[in-house]
Symmetry: C2
Subunit: 331 residues, 2 copies
């Protein structure tokens, strides 16, 4: 028997429970991991709340996108990996079909990859979501280049921090936003060139000041809601705004007049666009391996919880106190 | 003295009046046309109403983007054209600075071009707005290619008709929309492969039927408002929606969930992006000259009014009865 995290109804963190279940066998094209560490994502909080892009087909439901571990079984037709390989999962599958929170996890073989040997399992499960998400937006679609001004909102998140690192690696200027002043120094420490505290400062004015009136030419935002209008006002002519989340509970307007006057491109984006395309995914992996190897990309861990404290780990994520990835370790 | 159309306040068509003014002299980098024909655009209706992207600095204000005529004076430094050249104006200037409705018009030399000899002045003033607008959206930004499904809304307009011609020239499928059934046959006659009557038919369902469940991968829309959500539902994965107007009086939402799930790009666009960039403008001109020459692009004239009936001409445009460009002729 193995402990698997499941929820039997939508709700607060305490709907998560550790159920004792028989060890499952991987099917065709699947592998099974003996899990060592789990990386938490806001997507799982939303999935648990019934507020995510997709919902479970039935209850109880598993959840979880990212885990690192050792392969302990392979399904039919799997030749890419063998028992004993140290791998982590790439969050490009549907949580309706797979959930990796638990002592054991099954994943499609296409969504499993080795992580650099120098990384611990905690670090190995803290890379795919953040780097593929930020890479796809900034490099694959945003075509980031030296000299760009990149506006990164809600930058304290793991994906935000990955975006700062990718921006700096490209020789561009990272303008990070945070609502309150308390996280300003953390963002500067993470490499942001400028930090705008949106509760206290006028974002468009600050961005125009920083960019000498030009505006930000690449904007990476998980907030949406009415904040998109502020972002459009901070945008340069021809800028691309990439929306990759729906953190705001407000309706999101399309900033039509700014878009017409500036020729703005506003793009909805999730990592599935990269993870679901083998060619793009391979480029993303190589970019990430190179960046981790050169030290330009460095995963930041905030703190770890043992699996038994999964409810506390989710509550902690919802408290927005973290500065880096929240990890759950499995003994 | 020459007759120039001006308005002394915002309002209905009857604020337009023919004022007798002294013949103006072109300044540095400008040319003067003896006007033969004027092409009407919805932009001028909105400018007259005070509802356009920009507003006059003061009253009385001139207006008008498109005129064809014969150059009868050139300003300092103008070497590109000489007196006697037959040209038409490219609507890439600001109506705050120039307005071509009248017997005589001044325009910046960069926004003046010869039109093919086989075209009449009426046709020569019916090409730039529609073809550059549709070219920029579909070819320059939309990267239209054979096999694409292009959804063209409010397709009965001149720009919509130009988009149908450009879509067909690219070997793509043109799906045109119109609100009422009365214009369906006109759109089929103009070359649309499919026409969806949005007052009677469910647009996303029809588009999914036509595209065998794929959706439209390029959408060209001047309406905005809540219609953008219908368009997002008719869009294919990775589709580009180009918004080039604000005909709806409703607020425009950003279709966030569809955008995230499908990876939609929604782009604000005006012809100024092409007209304001000499390299892009040159490519657009060449595309248009080639298309007019080969017969793949054919400007469609609806009807002409004499200059004295400029008020009736504007009223006619606002009645939405036209099928093609409305022209004002100057004796």
């Amino acid at each position: 028997m193995v402990k698997i995290v499941r929820f039997h109804q939508f709700g607060d963190a305490d709907v998560l429970q550790l159920d004792e279940l028989p060890l499952a066998e991987p099917g065709k094209g699947e592998v099974r991991l003996k899990v060592e560490a789990i990386g938490l994502n806001r997507a799982e909080v939303m999935f648990r709340q019934g507020a995510y892009l997709e919902q479970p087909d039935s209850f109880p439901s598993t959840l979880g996108y990212e885990a690192a571990g050792v392969i302990d079984a392979v399904g039919e037709g799997v030749t890419e990996f063998k028992i004993g390989d140290r791998v982590s999962t790439i969050p490009g599958f549907s949580m309706k079909n797979y959930g990796v929170y638990g002592e054991s996890a099954i994943a499609p073989v296409t969504m499993v990859a080795k992580y650099p040997e120098k990384l611990s399992p905690q670090e190995g499960t803290a890379i795919w979501m953040q780097y593929i998400t930020a890479y796809g937006a900034l490099v694959e679609y945003g075509q980031i280049k030296s000299g760009d001004f990149v506006l990164i909102s809600a930058a304290i998140s793991s994906v935000g921090s990955a975006a700062i690192q990718i921006t700096k690696a490209a020789g561009a200027t990272a303008i990070a936003t945070t609502r309150g002043a308390s996280k300003k120094q953390m963002l500067l420490d993470k490499g942001a060139d400028y930090v705008v505290v949106t509760d206290e400062e006028d974002l468009p004015n600050k961005v125009m000041e920083i960019t000498q009136g030009q505006g930000a030419n690449l904007i990476f935002d998980p907030v949406a809601g009415s904040f998109i209008e502020t972002l459009a006002n901070a945008a340069a002519k021809g800028a691309t705004i990439i929306e990759y989340g729906a953190l705001s509970s407000e309706a999101t307007p399309f900033p039509l007049f700014a878009a017409l006057q500036k020729g703005l491109k506003i793009q909805g984006y999730t990592l599935f666009e990269i993870a679901g395309d083998p060619v793009k995914l391979e480029k993303a992996k190589q970019y990430m391996y190179d960046g981790l190897d050169s030290g330009k990309l460095v995963p930041i861990i905030d703190r770890s919880f043992p699996l038994e404290q999964i409810v506390d780990a989710h509550r902690y994520m919802e408290s927005n106190q973290q500065n880096g990835k929240i990890i759950v370790t499995v003994p």
